[in-house]
Amino acid sequence: MIVIIIINYNLKGKKMKKIILSTVAATTILTTSAFAHFQMLYTPNTALVKGQTIEQKHIFTHPFADEHTMDMAGVEEFYVINKEKKTDLKPTLKSITFQGHHNSGKAYESTYKARKMGDHVFVMKPTPYFEANEGAYIQQITKSIINVAGAPTNWDAELGLKAEIVPLTKPYAIWEHGSFTGIVKSNGKVVPNAEIEVEYLNRDVDMKNNKMGSSRVEAPQDAFVTMTIKANKDGEFTFSIPKAGFWGFCALGAGSDTEYKGKELSQDAVIWVEAKPMK
């Protein structure tokens, strides 16, 4: 007896449909170890008591499993917005080699004087990365928000990016066990029912030596490594945050660009949030 099983699953940022022919007797258990790619804009503290110079690491990796660090293909745009003032930070980027748990990859670091009070909204638009396994490009337009002194200014601003997660929760002011709510948008319009991958940054980032530390938690099963959730019809989603640290949200293929250099492009929206422990 032939049975047709249709499985929808995510393979590295790309929704794929696979049809498997099998016999009833063959009880095949299918597992995928394709964890989500995440562009990181990392600095250890996003809620600063007062203004200071901050260092950031820009790494394209798999934040939970850290099984492969990708070579960033370059950066198209990198800027910060504080109180409606936009500053180009692309000239501040320096190439580095970042050592992940299994391999090293091309990454960047930058420094920025976050002196003014309020929200400093960072946006990085990397050059699309060619994922050879899929024969397609991935471009993750990534936001990270650092606040100085606790005064809110522009953390919730909608920037009209091609792919964007607009936060409804301050991404830097979340207690452990709190939640994060955002809206997936593309060019200012909501993306209904967007598919969002969520990952926990499961390792300490060694800022001095440009490498990942040891892992903190073990996932009981792959569905806990990259958690996939869906936005509602208004593009809105909420995620309860079980542990302090950094959490990445990636809305897959939310962007308006679908092709790059003649190949398929997944233009994703990424935002990073930080939950603080109550101690």
């Binding site: 007062k50 203004g51 003014k116 009070m117 309020g118 002194a149 606790g150 005064a151 809110p152």
Partner: protein
């Protein structure tokens, strides 16, 4: 009508108390200090009183600008920058905590 006014006044006063006054200062490196004021709800601090105290005496008094900022000459010795938005809404920052 009176009932509506009373409700409005209640809402207005409760939101006032919900705010936290916030100030952040930095040394411009040119002999001046800039202080920025604000509130936890994001409202402007424009027009809020500001002073610099030395030995418990005000040596500089001003109001926050349209951009909720004040810049003043850095005093010699110990001093305090004070953002004064009224009782329960004051922020004091020691000069020694103000860096570039």
């Amino acid at each position: 009508m009176i009932k509506n006014i009373l409700i409005s006044l209640t809402i207005a006063s409760s939101s006032l108390f919900a705010h936290t006054a916030i100030m952040s200062c930095f040394d411009n490196g040119d002999g001046t200090i800039t202080c920025e004021g604000g509130f936890s709800d994001g409202s402007s601090a424009s027009g809020v009183k500001f002073r610099v105290e030395q030995n418990s005496k005000a040596i500089f008094e001003s109001k926050m600008s349209e951009d909720s900022e004040v810049t003043f000459k850095k005093p010699n010795g110990a001093y305090n920058a004070v953002f004064d938005a009224g009782e329960g809404h004051q922020v004091h920052i020691k000069g020694s905590d103000i860096t570039e």
